[in-house]
């Protein structure tokens, strides 16, 4: 069975082949490359499931595929390799599943709508999936970084897919530049990891030296690494935070979140892919991937938790006032990834991965649902022009409702279980010896209320009440290619929570927290159990249960459910009925602030235009006046000297004879003096 892992590279190679096929032969194919993509993703999905099974039977796997720098003379090896463990195979399944469904959905969204440039679309989609899958099974940080960048590139291409319009190219550039800003830090971090540990391997079965492990040994004084004069713990925190820069850019965490709402300019299936499984997920996945490293630094964890909690709340408040359905979803994505970060920072590794999983499902569902609505609405995204779509498109409605309930965190939908666990883990660790976490927890908790509110506002405005426009009264029908993926995801969103029903397990004593057991049985150094030891032993995280374990858990669940219901209830109260009205005016001055997204864009634009452009202009002035000045001076000096030299050539031969003799004499005298001939 172990040999099956030899096929693992094909998981990323298949979509890459579909990229090539769509790129070079797409226009000759019946569906312009869609079928190649679907086949490739189907293959990847099957292979991913096989890998999952292989790992489940105890065959976690790591192998180096290609060493491109190495040998005796260089201190490190730079390699491409594959790491298949519990975390990466789970993620492979998620990514290939979502990508497969997005490909199918695209048949309905792109092909049936007669969009142009389809081969390009499917080529980019294939490359996007291939990059993400490569990123997921990367066995070292450098390879991860390379695929991370490819993911960034593909999202740039896809967001700017309709490059002839005004918005998409600008949004694509913004996404590229903002994430690139974070990636600078990531790149420095990768170099720092190499300089410090001499290896960037994540670990895995058979890997003797991995950087999280070396860091752990170094803290215990059992290994010496180059920490550049810092105390090891300080230095590891610095390195961790550098890498975190890339994570925050990709996962759209405050203050790098501004690119994500603009990224809605891309085709909606792409948005689904970006938000659920690829681009944005890459960031938090990286934290989970090298969790053994972050667990060594309580400071880095606290930063992660705070950034996560703050982002969760901050983005949720902005989602409250948006008019476009995709904008609401965009802010919800930022907010939900905030939760995942909160979980990882708060010591809930399993909770974080759990929420990553459920979120991937329900967010893909919501986006595809939104895509279906957008098809029906002839590409009008304004929710105030919708209404009453429930009767016209029941499949979409029920699937969307399932996703919304999950997003809002209403029991028993999947989102409830994962979000509850996130908050619970943060709470108990906060109540332990880490009171700082309680602040992050409070923000996360408050965000639950807003999440419930904006989710149900969206559902009510879109599907309930009377139609508020002609297109809403007579929507465009959608076909199976759209409904199929929605149905699959709708069902999953409702039930995906069963993979980790921790509260139920706690109450009944039955071992049904499958994800927990799954992640706790990873390869040595890469499993939840090890992380928990590190959190306790090194980072000083302890769990505390002031009401006893069961009661604390129930109380926590009750509070978050209560807040979610309260938010949802408020939304229902405000926007119920056939003719809902806007209530945003009641917010007064706050409304303007929220509509302007807390002026985040403004200051970033100022950073780009006011500061960077000015510095660039100053540099340009220096270049033009001083550097060019020197160059021009040299050239005019050359021409001037040349002109003088020309005049020496007088044309009078006796002058030449004199100069010749003079030159020779000069040479003779100089050497005579120097060599002492005349002494």
């Amino acid at each position: 069975m172990a040999e099956i892992t030899a096929f693992a590279p094909a998981i990323a190679v298949l979509p890459f082949v579909s990229f090539l096929v769509a790129l070079f032969a797409g226009k000759y194919l019946p569906k312009k490359g869609a079928l190649a993509g679907i086949l490739a993703m189907g293959g990847s999905l099957v292979l991913s499931l096989l890998m999952l099974y292989t790992v489940a039977t105890g065959h976690a796997h790591q192998s180096t595929l290609y060493t491109w720098v190495g040998g005796e003379a260089v201190p490190y090896e730079l390699t491409f390799g594959i790491l298949l463990d519990q975390l990466s195979t789970l993620m492979l399944v998620i990514v290939s599943l979502i990508s497969f469904l997005v490909h199918v959905f695209s048949l309905g969204y792109m092909n049936d709508e007669d969009e142009g440039g389809l081969p390009r679309y499917y080529a980019e989609l294939g490359l996007f999936s291939a990059s993400m899958l490569g990123f997921v099974f990367a066995d070292n940080l450098l390879m991860a970084f390379m695929f991370f960048e490819l993911v960034g590139l593909c999202s740039y291409l896809l967001i700017g897919f309709w490059f002839r319009e005004a918005g998409p190219p600008s949004a694509a550039k913004k996404a590229f530049l903002v994430t690139r800003f974070g990636d600078y830090f990531f790149l420095v971090g990768v170099v720092a990891v190499f300089a410090t540990f001499g290896t960037a391997a994540f670990g895995g079965p058979g890997v003797e030296e991995s950087f999280p492990h070396l860091a752990e040994l170094a803290l215990d004084g059992e290994a010496s690494v180059n920490t550049f004069g810092f105390a090891p713990r300080t230095w590891f925190t610095i390195v961790g935070l550098l890498v975190l820069g890339g994570v925050m850019g990709k996962s759209a965490q405050f203050p790098f979140h501004t690119w994500l709402p603009d990224a809605m300019e891309g085709p909606t299936p792409v948005s689904a892919l970006i938000h659920a499984a690829t681009m944005v997920a890459a960031g938090v996945y990286l934290v989970a991937r090298m969790y053994g490293f972050y667990a060594l630094s309580p400071t880095a964890l606290a930063v992660i938790a705070f950034v996560g909690g703050f982002t969760a709340l901050f983005a949720a408040t902005m989602g409250v006032v948006k008019r476009e359905i995709k904008q609401v979803l965009a802010y919800s994505t930022i907010s939900q990834y905030g939760y995942i970060m909160l979980a990882l920072g708060g010591g809930g590794y399993v909770a974080g991965v759990f929420h990553l999983t459920t979120h991937a499902v329900f967010k893909a569902l919501l986006f595809l649902g939104a895509g279906s609505v957008i098809i029906a609405m002839h590409h009008n995204e304004n929710m105030w022009d919708m209404g009453g779509l429930k009767e016209e498109m029941p499949v979409t409605y029920y699937a969307f409702l399932s996703g919304s309930l999950a997003l809002a965190g209403i029991v028993p939908f999947s989102g409830f279980w994962s979000k509850d666990e996130v908050l619970f883990e943060t709470l108990i660790h906060g109540l332990g010896d880490s009171p700082l976490l309680l602040g992050a927890y409070a923000m996360g908790l408050l965000a639950v209320f807003f999440t419930g509110f904006y989710t149900f506002r969206m559902v009510l405005l879109t599907f309930h009440g009377e139609p508020r426009s002609d297109t809403a009264r007579d929507p465009h029908g959608v076909r199976w290619k759209v409904k199929g993926p929605l149905a699959v995801l709708g069902a999953l969103a409702a039930v995906a929570g069963v993979i980790n029903l921790a509260p139920v397990a706690e109450l009944t004593g039955a071992h049904i927290d499958f994800l927990h057991s799954w992640l706790f049985h990873g390869p040595e150094g890469l499993n939840g159990e090890h992380y928990e030891e590190l959190l306790e032993g090194v980072a000083g995280y302890h769990a505390a249960y002031p009401l006893g374990e069961t009661l604390t858990m129930l109380a926590s669940a009750a509070v978050s459910l209560g807040l979610a219901l309260a938010g949802a209830g408020l939304a229902v109260a405000l926007y119920r009925g056939p003719e809902p009205v806007e209530h945003t005016d009641k917010l007064g001055a706050l409304k303007t602030v929220l509509f302007n997204n807390y002026y985040q864009d403004e200051y970033q634009v100022w950073l780009a235009e006011g500061l960077t452009a000015r510095v660039a202009r100053a540099a340009d002035t220096v270049d033009v006046s001083i550097v060019d000045g020197v160059v021009n001076f040299v050239s005019s000096l050359s021409l001037f000297t040349g002109d003088r030299l020309r005049r020496v050539q007088t044309g009078i031969v006796s002058n030449y004879a004199a100069l010749l003799t003079l030159g020779l004499t000069l040479l003779l005298v100089a050497f005579g003096v120097m060599q002492g001939w005349f002494l």
Binding site: S638, G642, V653, Y656, G663, L664, F671, Q675
Partner: protein, 492 residues
């Protein structure tokens, strides 16, 4: 080895005999206007000499060196290598002259002088004693004076010839005086024998003055500062094929003699106490490069620009001597100098022959007169573009590789600043070389120039030079071994 031994001097003999054959033809049929026969004899003779020297080089006749007449002549790899340069340039020039001399008088004399000068150069490369070197240098120089003044009715040509002669006489005097001083110290004129007795010789002042004056003689022949004054005027006034001949072959001959005498007769580690001639050459190299290129940059006349660029290239080749500091691989840098002269023999000859073509057409002499020439003669202009870029050191021709070898050799010998000056000068040279290209290809053509005829042999010579220049870029990888081995054999 070769038997009989005198056969080793065959390239020189073939050239000399060709000159005599032309002489005989001229005696039988004086004032002949049978141009094809004259040009044909000259071309065949020089090609035969080239064939012999290439065959010798490949067959390894010069390894070990063949000494003739008690060491008065030395035929080794370096001599043969230089003879290949001289003979190929002579062949190209003789070929091009067929059209250039159309309807002119005294054609037989022209070819005789050309072949005699080539014989002198060939002897210079093989000179084993200072006396032979001096006589050979005069044998090369005297016909050259006559050739420069060949256009007797043209004031510029006559004046240039006279100036060249006067400066040449002065330089020869300096050179002869230098030889006599060296003889005074060493008691011998044979280069090998001189080497033996100059080590820690008694009168360092006398030796030092002698060595520097000998160096002055070489500087004249190679058109290096401060003995370069004749060059711009002679090149400008002479018939263009003769300019090509002088600036390529004659310069190479000067270097051939200089390389042998300086490295063999005055090994630097032996005479450094008396005179650090490597330092002197370094000074000359820097001054020559800089002056040549700077002066070239301000010229308006294309032929004069090429004349100054030729001075600049003498400066590059001087690096071959200037980098013999004792550190690094001397054979590498000396061989690089030889290779540059080989490439230069084609690219510079080609450039001057293009000028000859322009003169044949009656196109003016300035850059502006070349405007739009590419539309009328695209093939020749492609060739000229190759010459210009190869001279500047861009990788379209062998000039790139040879310059690279030179600069690399300089860095290898620890005189990186010499390479730096060379590189800066190369960058400057790109400016004025590309002016020609720009004028030919980009500028609007001037009115009134009629390119109606396409002189076949002149064209053939230009195209051959261009093809060889391009082919040398990859071929130098194969060829350069001969130069490096020959240089190393001379040094050790």
């Amino acid at each position: 080895m070769i038997t009989p031994e005198w056969a080793a001097a065959a390239p020189t003999l073939v050239l000399g005999v060709t000159a005599l054959v032309l002489f005989a033809f001229d005696s039988i049929d004086p004032e002949s206007s049978n141009n094809p026969v004259l040009a044909g004899i000259a071309v065949v003779g020089s090609l035969a000499a080239m064939g012999v020297s290439v065959a010798y080089l490949v067959a390894g006749v010069g390894d070990p060196a063949v000494e003739l007449y008690g060491g008065q002549l030395v035929v080794d790899g370096m001599a043969l290598f230089f003879q290949v340069i001289f003979t190929s340039v002579t062949a190209l020039v003789a070929l091009a002259s067929y059209d250039y001399l159309e309807d002119m008088r005294h054609q037989a004399e022209y070819y005789i002088l050309l072949l005699l000068a080539a014989t002198g150069m060939s002897l210079m490369a093989a000179a084993g004693s200072l006396a032979v070197g001096f006589v050979a240098l005069e044998l090369a120089s005297l016909p050259s004076y006559g050739l420069v003044a060949f256009l007797k009715q043209n004031r510029g040509s006559a004046e240039a010839g006279l100036k060249y002669f006067l400066i040449g006489a002065l330089s020869s005097a300096v050179f002869a005086y230098g030889i006599s001083l060296v003889y005074a110290v060493s008691g011998s004129l044979l280069i090998d024998a001189v080497a033996g007795s100059v080590r820690n010789a008694g009168q360092p002042g006398v030796l030092g003055v002698g060595v520097l004056m000998v160096l002055g003689g070489f500087a004249f022949k190679t058109a290096s500062v401060p003995f370069h004054f004749w060059a711009p005027e002679a090149y400008e006034g002479a018939p263009a094929p003769i300019s090509a001949f002088l600036s390529s072959a004659s310069k190479a001959a000067g270097f051939a003699l200089a390389f042998r005498v300086m490295t063999v007769a005055f090994p630097i580690e032996g005479v450094v106490g008396a005179v650090d001639w490597v330092l002197a050459v370094q000074v000359l190299a820097v001054v020559t490069m800089t002056l040549g290129n700077f002066a070239a940059a301000t010229q308006e006349n294309v032929k004069r620009m090429l004349a100054y660029s030729s001075v600049g290239h003498a400066g590059y080749v001087l690096i071959g001597l200037a980098a013999l500091t004792g550190t690094g691989d001397g054979g590498l840098v000396l061989g690089a100098g030889m290779i540059h002269l080989l490439v230069y023999g084609f690219m510079n000859t080609g450039a001057f022959l293009f000028i000859a073509l322009a003169e044949y057409w009656g196109v003016g002499r300035t850059f502006a007169d070349y405007n739009g020439l590419a539309r009328r003669a695209p093939l020749a202009c492609v060739a000229m573009t190759v010459f210009m870029f190869s001279l500047a050191g861009l990788p379209v021709g062998g000039g790139f590789v040879s310059k690279y070898y030179l600069f690399a050799g300089a860095v290898n010998a620890g005189v990186w600043w010499l390479a730096l000056v060379g590189a800066v000068n190369s960058a400057l040279s790109l400016f004025y070389y590309s002016r020609v290209v720009k004028a030919m290809w980009i500028e609007e053509p001037a009115e009134g120039v009629d390119v109606s005829s396409y002189p076949s042999t002149l064209y053939a010579a230009v195209i051959t030079a261009a093809v060889v220049t391009v082919v040398l870029l990859p071929a130098l990888g194969l060829f350069s071994g001969f130069a490096f081995d020959a240089a190393a054999a001379v040094l050790f």
